[in-house]
Subunit: 182 residues, 2 copies
Amino acid sequence: MPHNHAHDHSLSLFPTDDHDHSDCTSNLMSYAEQFCEKKGLRLTKLRRDILKEIAASHKAIGAYQLLDSLAANGKKLAPISVYRSLDFLQEAGLIHRLESTNSYFACQRNFEDDERACTNEPLLFLICDDCGTIGEVDGTAIESLIGDVTSKAQFAVERSQLEIRGMCLSCQQSETPGASHE
Amino acid sequence: MPHNHAHDHSLSLFPTDDHDHSDCTSNLMSYAEQFCEKKGLRLTKLRRDILKEIAASHKAIGAYQLLDSLAANGKKLAPISVYRSLDFLQEAGLIHRLESTNSYFACQRNFEDDERACTNEPLLFLICDDCGTIGEVDGTAIESLIGDVTSKAQFAVERSQLEIRGMCLSCQQSETPGASHE
DNA sequence: CTGCTATATGGTATATTGTAACATTATGAA
DNA sequence: TTCATAATGTTACAATATACCATATAGCAG
């Protein structure tokens, strides 16, 4: 097997600097095609273009940044068009919205098993304040704890999203050592 | 002891419809005075007025709503003045900002023990989509689980806020019964 | 294919949320 | 008092998001 295993499951915790991102993009795009086909949703050219733009990194991008990127590619759009596609993609579970920064990023769940995507499990994001990279983590462990709390309060949960801000490993390593005790 | 115990700790899970809210307001206001005094922070008239307005309920209020309320009370302000006070109050831990709705509400921690307030524990909010009431819950149980996840990812947490949306007990009860199987 | 209907997109204007930059006023310490 | 710092005022504007109505496109019934 000449194929390099080093990157397998590299996204299960946090996207590493050296992962093969073209895999992420193509996985998501092909999953999006299948998923929309299966669900009778229309992955139109506009929606596909916007999804591809978002999937180009593991950072979150704002709606107006997207507008600019697409304009650079020759697509002159009104904000509302972008927002409508963002709504569609978000409802399909293909992207997420970071509420702390009003920006959008590609879903990172493992799409090899179709059924694992787009469920209502609680969302759990690790957001690096330094480089902007986002890691999407399995939230099922948190789910039961949330259930404890909410059932005591007799609160009927609809949706939960946990945005954890901090610094990723690679940004921690590139901080000037010794700067801490200046 | 002629005092009515029924409301004691009534906010430990979720604010009930019948709790004595004047207690909440006065507790928070007097705590704010003490806390700012102790920390050398200036709880100015503007900041106090804004805090009181926010503390008037357990719902979140937007910055421009606040502007209107204060204008109705004769205070004509620029948005920036409100935002500056909101920043101050938030840094002091006296209010929180709901990131999912860009709005602000009063901190509900138990202020009888000064030291418990304004720590860096993870924030955990239950937000009723129906009536807008918010419950602030102890997040320390979640904290350790978050620690498990983030340490595996070698991610250095700075801040986390969990916004759980759904329906509170009292709104569940006032839903039309039988509507579920229509 | 034609025409119908529902969905998607375009175009224009505007609402909502939040900040920049600089002037003025209030507070607290020397 | 005088100075330095913090707080607020004033004006303008940036960034994010939606309302509203017109047009275009896809899928379907006939």
